[in-house]
Structures are given as C-alpha cells and as structure tokens.
Symmetry: C4
Subunit: 202 residues, 4 copies
C-alpha cells in the first residue's frame, strides 16, 4: 500500500500528529467537564447553607463522574487503536474528526444531564451525544479494519472493538432513548450496562 | 540556506515546537467551541419545556458544527504545510502567529453567529474572522513557497494552497460581507461554497 | 515480565502517551484556575472603587496561588514517577485516571475556597479534593513499587513517595477535616505543613 | 556537570517534559484570552444595535490583541531559551513555574484592562502581572546563564535576554505604575515601548 521508506515515514508522521491532536482534544474535553460544577452564589446571610447547597448538587457530581469515566474509556480505546494502526487514509481522518466532534459535545450533554437529571429531554440529549460518539468510534475502528489500516499482527485484538458484537454498545444507547420516555432511571442503567458488555468480552 | 548538520537539527527542532504549539492552539480552540452551547436555565415550573428550549437553540448547534468543520480543515491544511516545510524563518513565525490569532477568535465569532444568526453584524463578524484566517493561512503558505521553506519535492502539491487561484476562498468570504447586507442567507451559502472550491481543485 | 523487544517498544509507547495525556490534563487544570478570578462588574458610577474591589478579592488570589503551587508539585512528582517507570499495567492506568480525576476537580474546590474562605463547608471540600488527590497519588506510586513497574535503579528514590511515611501528607489533609469544624484557619495551616513534610525527608 | 550518558539522557528527558508542559500552558493561556470577548445579550427589540455594541467593545479587542502579542513573544523567548539549555536544576524549575504562574494570570489582567481601559487600578493590575512575568522571565534566563545551564556555544545569544540591559523591559513596566496615576494613556505607551527595546538590541 505504501511506496517505500518515504511513504512509511510520512505515514508515521501523519499518525503521530493526528494522535497528538486527538489526545489534546480528549485531555481538554475531560478537564472542561469541571466547568459544569457551579459554585453556589450566596449572600452573607445565606452562607450557613453552603454545605447543604454543595451536597444538593449531587446530580452534577454524578454526571461529572459518569462523563469522566466515559471520556477516559474513549481515550483508552482510541489510544490502543492508534497504537495498532500502520497508516491513515482520508476516510479514517474524517471518521476521527466526526468522532472527536461527538467527544467535545460530552461536556455540554453532561451539563444538561447534571442540571435536569430526571427530565426525558436531558437523558435523550446525553444518549444521543454519547451514543453517537460510541457509534462513530465503532465506524472508525470498523473502517480501519476493513481498509487494512491495522497492522496484521494486531487485527485479532482490534476486531473485538470493530465487529458486529461491538455494536452492542451504541445499540444500548439507542435503546435507552425510547426507554427514557418510560423511565429515565432505567435508561441510565442501560448506560452503565455498556461498561459490563465490554468487560465480559475481553 | 542552512549551514550544516547543526543548522538542520535546529531547523527540525524549531519546526517541531512551533507545530506542537500550533496543534495545541487548534485543539483548544476546537474544544472551546462547546462553551458556546448554553444549557437553558429553567425553574421547576418551566422544566417541561426543556426539550423545546434545547431544540430552539438549533442556530447555536449549526454555528458550532460549521466552526468545528472549519477549524478541522484549517488544522488539516496546517498539518500538511508543516509536514512539507524544511525550515522556518522569522516571517513565517509571525505569519503563523497572526494566523493562529484569527483561529482563536473563531469561538467568539461563532458565538455571535449562533446567538444572532440573521443579524448582518453577526454574519459580517464571522466573515471577517474566518475570512481573515483564510487570508492569513494563504499568506503563510504563499510566503513558505516564495521563501523556499518548502521541500523541493513537495512544492507542486503545496502550490495548490498558495497560488492565486487559492485566493478564491478568502475572496468568497470578502464577497459575503457586502452580500450579507442584502441577504444573510446567501452570504452563508457563499461560505459553504468555499468547501467545494477546494475539493474540485485537488 | 516483558516478552522481548516488541514488548518493550509497546511499553515505551504506552508510557509516552499516558504521560503526554496526563501532562495535558495538568497543564489545562493549572491554567483553568485563572477562570476563578472574577472581574468586578461595576457601573460607571461605581468604577472609582475598582481598586478596592480588586484588592477585596484577596482570598481568591490566595486560593489561586495555593492551588497553583499544589498542582505544580503534583506535576513534578508525577513527572519523576513516570520517568522512572519501565512499564504500565491496567491497575496503574486506572489509578492514574482516578488521580487525574481528583486533579481536575481542584479548580472547582479552589473556587469554593476562594469564595467562602472561612466557611467550614468550603475548607472541607478543598481538603477532600486535594487530600483525595494526595491519597490517589500515593496509591499510584505504591502500586508502581509493589507491582514492579519502577526501574530497579530508581526504586530507592521512588520509595520516598510511596512508603508508609509518605502517607503523612494525605493524613494531614484528613486531619484538617475535623479540625476545620473547630478552626478553619488551623485546618489551612495543616495544608501548608504538608509542604514542609516532603521537604524534610528528601 | 553531568555524570555520563545516563545523566545526559535524564537531563534531555526532563527538559523535554518541562518544555512540553510549558508549551501547553502558553497555548492554553493564549487561547483562553478569547473568553474575555463577551457576546452582547440583547432582547429582540435591541438587536438592531448589535453592530454598535460589538464595535463599542473595542477596548476588549485591543486588550486581547496586546495580550496575544505579549504571550506570543513570551513563548518565542521561552522556546529559544529551552532550545539552548543543556540541563535544568531545581531553581530553574521553580523559576519556570513562577514565570508560568504570571503568564496564566495574563487572561485575568487582560479582562480587567479590557473592561476598564482608563481606570488606574486596571492599568496597574496589568502592569503588575505582565511586568511581573517579564521580571520572572529575566530571572529564569539570568539564572540559566549564571548556573551554567546554557550550552557554551549559545551563551552569547542568550545573554541578550538575561543581562542587565535586558532589565529595561521590566523596568519600563515598573515605571508605568506611577505614571498610570498621572496618565493611563502614557503608561500604556510605555508598554508598547518595551517591544522596541528588544528589537533594537538584536
């Protein structure tokens, strides 16, 4: 696929820079999540209830923790994928950017969820953004496998993230959308289930 | 141009650090765009219209998506340019900083556009900032070609971004400014046209 | 532990990327602290007291300075740790992410402390977040030592940060929590004492 | 100064990571400046004066541009310094962190200046922060020269930034503080003069 040593050096360079750029985006997105935690604004007379107000924000902390873990996992999978890639093509570049676009939306979806933890609209927003990211990650990995971008020796391990069974995760997020209209709690439990799915297979 | 191996190592080092710094700026700017998406602040009695209010912000999402794609494209072109450079001179440094200055303004211009999508002033602001970035990118590439900073073998491919025909893109943004006074919609269609311009030539 | 040259290259690559990602998170968290410094919003008639209002925010500046120094020290210790690691295992990855999660919460805890410097709830929040980060750093270092992840020659120097005596620092933060209910000032003096602890031993 | 190859590798590694961390901080600080540009919040009836309100913010744009150029110059000098260093010592580490602390305050000082461009308190704040950064940069460079951290061949060029004459720049910022009480305009002209100082000597 590559024409000689020059091509390989170029491929390595392109991979390095796309990896570094993606790492930057992941690191910024995971750190920006903290901006969703608001400091209560209390007058002097109200300050006695600072502890109460801080504790009262527990849905914000929960949304922050969920989103932190989700972005961290996305980064780990992305890290492994790019470690196993021999080269990039234009489609993989586009898929990677589309995936990053969904990742940077997570702080927004997380803020909506933290503010309105039991509103259907908030749960659907979160499922759309995170589920969308999950699907785009799958598309990126699937294309990398189909397009021969993965090093031969690393194909079996990579396949676990890019085969049909791996579609289970975006499917659970998709399923959580209609479920949210019945029960936002059950919908959120489906998200947690996605963690278990991955764990069992590896 | 360079005096021996030491010079080449220095040139390589300078390129690497300017590239890393620029990558950081691009990654931060593209991620900060998400801060333009506001979470509606609703009292308990108003929360039933969360879905409505979230959907009502569609111009914000559109401005976000447009700016994400624009910064991503800027990064790709910048990546290719710096991959093909053999060295930097002071002018290229200044041009690169001027270009980055325009890039970091995009989240601001994007927020203005998202808030007031059909105000002439917002459309002109966006055209000035993004069009300005396009022009400064052209100046950087043009100077890199004229100043012999591009590796001989890579000059033909680089020329597509730095010749007169490549001025079409900043020209379309410039044109969109007077057009915005007649129709903000047509002005925005001119921006989308800039994507097609590049695609046809390559 | 590693199977040949390929394993070592992979270990080096994984270390490099986790290091780069962690560095990014530290750099962003330390820079985001500045967003806690509010610019007073004054009407034209009130502007004569800008100096007064700026000086009046001294608890914010103090919280900023304390948090800046704390994150800087965390980074230095993290830097030394990763320089001495030969490889990573999954537990170390998880411990590193948990540690980073506590680090990115520092800007939030710092804002709470700056706004309400003598409220027990604010002092406890800060002690929980920063003390938690201190404990998670210790766990990471302790595991790296116990799991044989540190290069043989570097074990003695690393032990200073991962042995029982090094638990003094999280212990002081834990102690500051009950103390805060008696005196927030004494609690904060315990934090400053943690700086001296480290210094004496090295 | 260094004991063999291992020491040199360690020195190189430490330099690389401190450089990368500092670069991250510079890149984030220069990009965060954009958050100081506020989008006017106008009701439907007021939107006709969007252009007017955007133009009315010209002191914000000016403060942004000044701070962008100042951080960019800081980065360039920092880049050259670290390219010429052979190793770091603990003092240089501390000086570098103190310098970065001043750099990350620039977005705050810049916002104060943009909001209250002709208030003495705002001009003094800016002079303290940016002048402080200038002084700390000088201390870092001066120490690097005195402590033998700079490669022999690079000492002459580095001295221009770390000798007594280079103190002219922090001196001008210091001078601008009393001057601001007489005229904020003249004080700001002194800042611009610092750009000329550097240019003439090189």
């Amino acid at each position: 696929m590559q024409a000689g040593a020059r091509g390989e050096i170029d491929a390595g360079r392109a991979l390095t820079r796309v990896t570094a750029f993606s790492d930057g985006v992941f690191a910024i997105a995971i750190t920006l999540l903290v901006l969703n935690l608001d400091v209560p604004r209390l007058s002097a007379a109200e300050q006695h209830r600072l502890a109460h107000d801080l504790i009262d924000q527990w849905p914000d902390y929960l949304a922050w923790a969920l989103s932190f873990v989700i972005i961290a996992r996305f980064w780990v999978v992305h890290d492994r994928l790019f470690a196993r890639m021999a080269r990039l093509d234009e489609r993989a570049m586009v898929a990677n950017f589309a995936y990053l676009a969904a990742v940077v939306l997570i702080p927004f979806a997380s803020e909506v969820l933290g503010e309105y933890p039991d509103r259907v609209a908030a749960v659907v927003t979160y499922a759309l953004v995170v589920g969308g990211a999950t699907l785009l990650a799958w598309l990126l990995i699937h294309h990398a496998l189909a397009g021969g971008l993965i090093r031969e020796a690393d194909r079996p391990e990579t396949r676990v993230y890019g085969d049909r069974a791996a579609l289970m995760r975006p499917a659970l997020f998709a399923l959580s959308i209609p479920v949210a209209f019945v029960s936002t709690g059950v919908a959120q439990m489906l998200w947690v289930a996605t963690f278990l799915v991955g764990r069992r297979r590896r």
